[in-house]
Amino acid sequence: MKSLIQKLTETFSPSGYESAIRDVVRAEVEPLADEVRVDALGNLIVRKGNGSGQGRRIMLAGHMDEIGLIASHVDENGFVRFTTIGGIRPQVLHGARVVFVNGARGVIGGERYENWNQMHPYDKMFIDVGAASAKDCPVRVGDVAAFERAFLDMGDKLVAKSMDDRIGVAVMVETLRQLKSTPHEVYFVFTTQEEVTLGGAATAAFGVDPEIGVSVDVTATGDTPKGEKMEVSLGKGPAVKIKDGGMLADPRIVDWMIRSAESAKIPYQREVLLGGTTDAKAMQVARAGVPAGCLSIPCRYIHSPSEMVEYNDVQNAVKLLVAMLSAPVSLD
């Protein structure tokens, strides 16, 4: 599974421009699925099972997109000004390397500091793509870039850009691979534009019209020096989301996850996240409403070029999802 994670995290696909990662994921899932389609916003919708008898129509959502940058101006000396796609803090930008969707590479620099105690906002930074003039600059206004950072295997811990949410994508692909049979009609939806508007999950949920929605995404941890005050740690199992900044998980979905984990003896953590949200927020309010929840992979340094997860948590997330989807589910 590590090589899958490497392949997924080393692909560049900022929000709105998910075609590259979609091609990678499709190649993985096509042999395993009963049906594969792509909708109007580029969501990859993969069905497994027919939902015979007591089966339910279940939608899993893991987002394919990642945060990125978009060129807003090329100045007369060929430096590229930019704005962000998704939530990026300026302090992770200085010195970062980026790759444009068209293949051009660049490094991020900034204007002279008047005050070193004050971080530059984006409009005082620029991308240097090695051009000497606007004319020979390989980048044009509107071109999109993502962080460039190689996958790092530390053994138990894995580090990469875009673990948010390629690790969720990997968990879903692996779940599909390991799911021998299911009484349900399961839609593995690899969504677009989560980092900007949750627009992919919203429209996919309308199209799929599920009875149950579960997103698979990363969550923050409280296990680093003087970090956030939060119960979740790396290595203690996948996290069952109870609430986040945008969603209250349906208690029946929470119970379903916990029951499944306990009966299969899979470690899990209870997650209460104060900020941030996931595709479950959009699924929950699709059409006439959908009972929704989220299975989270604990992750350090989210939205930086080096996001860290624990391999054990990843494998346990797969086990838990397989357990959940292999048996009938009752939400009463």
């Binding site: 979609r22 792509v38 109007a40 969501n43 509107g142 508007t197």
Partner: protein, 355 residues
């Protein structure tokens, strides 16, 4: 170029009428009436929905027609009177985003009868040097309609009183955002090519949260959508002679195609198609600088199971103030680009996945 609709005196007169009409978000009746009058005779279907959107269908002919939603918002930013302090003095709130610093001293039209009013403040004779350095907060501003303005009531809306003017290559008016889009869309319906079904949405309440567009897109359930709007041109030179790097758009550079704004990442297939259409037909266009702001596309692309969407705007200086400024040539090029794009649209456009 395929028989491009012309912008002549008739079209200018219509734009003038649209800009001078008052339709602050939530009470768009005046502009709605103009749209209905213009399009009722030639629409295949025309109706006013529950929120007040005007939804117009103009069917093409032949097989394999894309159903193309074209959108322009009929509402404008303005004010609402919230407290009657007697003798014609009213406290007010803004409707839509307005910079409070530029409100003082502006004349306004109040209520459906367009009663004259002014946004007043203490005159310079009575202010201190210190006071003059600070902007006046909204709760210190009043709309004064004078005593005897007994028809004016709390809950009435007000808009800037600026009258439309044409000066050489430019037009000056209030509410160019988005009456210029409305005028463009009216021409597109009147000159709709037969290879597509045009689903025209003249939407309400864009300025307060894209509310009209959301339900219009649900109702139309189109194959794709283009929002037609007006976007700021912040293109004046910098005071220190340095390069202006955040102009958003520039006047005289043609219609602005959106790649990304705060609400939408435009469909790359449609962005390429519009640019290609411009190149093929020798129509000038520019890419709006990616960044904040947004259009009805923000709501439309998320309707139902998703709608491939893009926005195109006429650039204009001084948006959301009493007097905007746009160029006739940018308007003409916008109409030409959109008409030429419609004319060459086939299902082929969306046959491949979004990429």
């Amino acid at each position: 170029m395929p028989n491009t609709p012309k912008i002549g005196n008739t079209q200018l007169k219509l734009l003038e009428k649209l800009c001078n009409a008052v339709a602050v978000s939530g009470d768009e009746g005046e502009v709605r009436q103009i749209v209905l009058e213009e399009l009722r005779p030639l629409a295949d279907e025309i109706k006013v929905d529950a929120l007040g959107n005007v939804l117009v269908t103009k069917n093409g002919g032949g097989a394999n027609r894309l159903r193309v939603m074209l959108d322009a918002h009929i509402d404008e930013v303005g004010f609402m009177l919230v407290d009657d302090e007697k003798d014609g003095i009213f406290r007010f709130e803004t409707v839509g985003s307005l910079d409070v610093r530029q409100l003082v001293g502006k004349q306004v039209l109040v209520g459906r009868e367009h009663l004259p009013g002014v946004i007043g403040a203490k005159p310079i004779h009575l202010t201190t040097a210190d006071e003059r350095k600070k902007s006046i907060p909204l709760d210190s501003l009043r709309i004064d309609v004078g005593p005897g303005g007994g028809k004016v009531k709390v809950g009435d809306r007000a808009a800037f009183a600026t009258r439309f003017r044409r000066v050489g290559p430019s037009i000056f008016a209030k509410a160019i955002d988005d009456r210029i889009g409305v005028a463009t869309l009216i021409e597109l319906v009147k000159n709709a090519p037969a290879n597509v079904d045009v689903l025209a949405a003249f939407t309400v309440q864009e300025e307060v949260g894209l509310r009209g567009a959301k339900v219009a897109a649900h109702a139309f359930d189109p194959d794709l959508a283009i929002a037609i709007d007006s976007t700021p041109a912040n293109d004046l030179p910098m005071h220190d002679g340095s390069e202006n790097i955040s102009y958003n758009t520039k006047l005289d550079h043609g219609p602005a195609i959106y790649v990304a704004d705060a609400g939408t990442l435009g469909d790359p297939r449609l962005i390429r198609f519009l640019a290609e259409t411009g190149d093929l037909n020798g129509i000038k266009y520019q890419f709006r600088q990616p960044g904040g702001g947004g259009t009805d596309a923000g709501a439309i692309h998320k309707a139902r199971a998703g709608v491939p969407s893009v926005s195109v705007s006429v650039p204009g200086r001084y948006a959301h103030t009493a007097a905007g400024l746009s160029r006739l040539d940018d308007w003409k090029a916008t109409l030409s680009l959109l008409h030429a794009a419609l004319t060459r649209m086939t299902p082929e456009l969306l046959a491949g996945e979004r990429r």
